[in-house]
Amino acid sequence: MPYKSMLLALAVGALALTACDSGVTVHEPGVYKGKKDESATKEAADRRAEPLRERALLAHTDR
């Protein structure tokens, strides 16, 4: 009898564990894992686009 109840407890335990959250992602391949870079955002790129464009025309055009 104790053997059967132990088996039952194990089965219930195993079934209960299957209900654990499966949304945990240990590793997402190909996605940057490092620190966030504020200057990499679209807003930052938009802000510097025009000054850099003017700079390129100034620096690279033949005098």
Binding site: P29, G30, V31, Y32, K33, G34, K35, K36, D37, E38, S39, A40, T41, K42, A44, A45, D46, R48, A49, P51, L52, R53, R55, A56, L57, A59, H60, T61, D62
Partner: protein, 195 residues
């Protein structure tokens, strides 16, 4: 949206290596690491050509594709950067890069590699702009100051161009039109001789 690119005009490059020196000086790059190099084709032969090469900030960067710790990221304007705190110095990016851009400081004997170092397009890294950490790990951040990479800005013959790909292509196209023909490093005449 701008996409930052380098372009070296092989007709103008005179192999002065000033871009290499400027880069090393600006970012205090350690000995043994060259973020930029000048490659000479047909050295000493008639028609010799030189091209300044660094990280080309690929749109679909193979270094990022092979990195096992995913330390690479691309800014919204196409600059490929990496986080040295994540880098494990495995060397995969070096083997994947067609330009040999990733470099490794030799830290100890027996070829142990340090953290990968490469051209940042003078845009620093993921640390705060102009912070001590950024300066130490990645070098100066000229892009945040509205300046272009120093190698291109100080090129005496204006062979090395950097900036938005559209602007760079436009400047180069105007040069080629002014020269009256396309450069013959490659192409029909270079391959088969004048008909």
């Amino acid at each position: 949206m701008a996409r930052m690119k380098f372009l070296c005009d092989a007709e103008r490059c005179i192999e002065c290596q000033a871009c290499v020196t400027a880069c090393k000086n600006e970012h205090e790059v350690p000995w043994g690491v060259n973020r930029r190099r000048v490659i000479v084709m047909d050295d000493g032969m008639p028609g010799e050509k030189s091209v300044s090469v660094a990280c080309m900030h690929c749109t679909d960067a193979p270094c990022a594709a092979v990195c096992p710790v995913d330390c690479f990221y691309t800014t919204a304007d196409g600059i490929v950067l990496h986080d040295k705190d994540l880098c494990i110095g495995c060397g995969y990016c070096f083997y994947a890069c067609p330009f040999g851009a990733p470099q490794y400081p030799k830290q100890t004997a027996f070829g142990v590699r340090g953290k990968m170092d490469k051209c940042t397009f003078c845009a620093g890294g993921p640390e705060d702009a102009h912070s001590e950490a950024e300066l130490t790990k990645y070098g100066t951040n000229r892009i945040a100051e509205g300046k272009l990479p120093l190698c291109a800005e100080m090129c005496s013959t204006k062979a090395l161009l950097a900036g938005d790909g559209d602007v760079v292509a436009d400047i180069y196209r105007q040069r080629v039109m002014r020269r009256g023909g396309r450069p013959q490093t490659w192409g029909w005449q270079a391959a088969y001789g004048a008909a």
